[in-house]
């Protein structure tokens, strides 16, 4: 990472600078990222990233932070000050930056758990939708299987349905496909429990319903080209 200084100046030229770039990443990643990963992706030193993380964390918590982006060339952690109004004042955000299992991500603030919980429950049903059931069925009979594959079989984008099924504990990640690196999914023991069977092998054969399964298999593989 010898290009660090170049990259830092490039980021600094963007509106909001390094802080905003880091914020952009933290806001959309769907799993926590370590400061080392963030440093590599932003092409900054790990120390600098940790400094920026701390700055963001304080800012979201409503502390006034002396904006450090102008001081990008002087990496001294002491610059980051919890203090009375200096450059800008900030209100306490509805989200916070948290370090979970060694990684960083932005989450909704714990104080609002009741509100968020109500929102989550609103519109949630105790029943799976037809789309979710069918997706689950495909995963059950084709596991381990990638989302792309399930999409191809169902003929629709299944990203959000898969997320729901993971949230519901019915399916889980099961490594990645060697060639593509795509995440594979399999059913969980909770799924077996709900269905009332002991193992996946006990799933009823579906061949009788579906003549020429092998041919179909090939058809789908061809589809994905």
């Amino acid at each position: 990472m010898n290009s660090t200084s170049d990259s830092a100046s490039a980021l600094a030229e963007l509106p909001g600078g390094e802080l905003a770039a880091l914020e952009a990443v933290l806001m959309v990643i769907d799993e926590p990222a370590t400061s080392a990963e963030l440093a590599a992706g932003l092409d900054l030193s790990e120390e600098r990233v940790e400094q920026l993380l701390e700055e963001l964390r304080l800012e979201y918590d409503g502390y006034t932070v002396k904006a450090a982006e102008q001081a990008a060339s002087e990496p001294s952690t002491e610059d980051t000050v919890r203090s009375a109004p200096a450059g800008s004042t900030s209100r306490r955000r509805g989200f916070e930056l948290r370090k979970v299992a060694g990684g960083w991500r932005i989450y909704s603030r714990a104080e609002f758990a009741a509100v968020v919980g109500r929102f989550v429950l609103e519109g949630q049903t105790a029943r799976l939708t037809q789309a979710a059931l069918e997706t689950l069925a495909v995963v059950a009979y084709r596991q381990p299987v990638s989302r792309a594959r399930v999409s191809a079989i169902r003929g629709v984008n299944v990203d959000s349905v898969v997320r729901t099924l993971v949230q519901r504990g019915l399916i889980e990640e099961a490594g990645t496909e060697p060639e593509s690196g795509a995440i594979l999914y399999r059913t969980t023991s909770y799924f077996l429990e709900r269905l009332g069977i002991g193992s996946v092998e006990e799933l009823p054969q579906i061949a009788p319903h579906l003549p020429g399964l092998d041919g179909i298999e090939e058809y789908y593989d061809a589809e994905r080209v």
Binding site: E202, I206, I216
Partner: protein
Amino acid sequence: MPAQAAESGVGPKTGFEVRLENFTGPFDLLLGLISKRQLDITEVALSSVTDDFIGYIRRLQALGEEWALDEASEFLVIAATLLDLKAARLLPSGQVEDEEDIALLEARDLLFARLLQYKAFKEVASLIGDTFDRESLRFPRQGSLEPHFAAMLPELVWRHTPEQFARLAAKALRPKEKPPTEVGLDHLHAPPVSVREQAGIIGQLLRHGGPLSFRVLVAGAESKLVVVARFLALLEMFRDRVVAFEQLTPLGELTVRWSGPDAGWSSEHVADDYDAGPPSEAEADGLPGAPHNDPSPAKEAGIP
């Protein structure tokens, strides 16, 4: 299949001479040729563009590309229209005299109307493409429920027995539609015109009226579909060796002569591929009409 190749092509267009497969269809090609000559669609110098168009199809053929019938047919329909229009221009100029001239004018207007329409969609397609590109720079937050929220979700109601679940799986795994192994005829909803019947009429005309031009043979046709059916019937009859074609000059009058027995031939012999609904398979892969040495041009039924 050139159109298939185009469907997967992503590269920038670098001119049709170098990247033959780059056009996504006949209209795209035609527009490309017109803009290459910096012409206004509404006042196209038809003869030169027609030559280019035909030249493009020839080069494709020379490359030994196999054409899917329904794709090739669109190219050919347009090539034929262009040729017609060009031929009309080459003729000594005259007033609009007979119905054929009017039909030709209509064909031209239709072709240009369709071309204009395609052009409009091509333009908005590129706007949509630009917007996609611009929007792909933004990534949405994929909010996921933290475990303590997930735990608040109501217990799942589950009513499926393993057997019901298996039936659901079978349904979900069944292919949504058959792969396109056949030429689509779904869009042909015209009242059925029987090729066999038309063959009978042509046989009648030829045996009793001597050699006739194709123009005369289709003169009484009440619709485009009947013309097509008669054309197909002629191909069938040619295969049965009961008619012979004669064309003295390129683009000249096509004369059809009866070469079969005076008696004993009946249109019943004409294969009923055309009249029995969509064909069960599409073996046709050549250019319709072109390979007359092909022993079985009989399945070329996909002219839309």
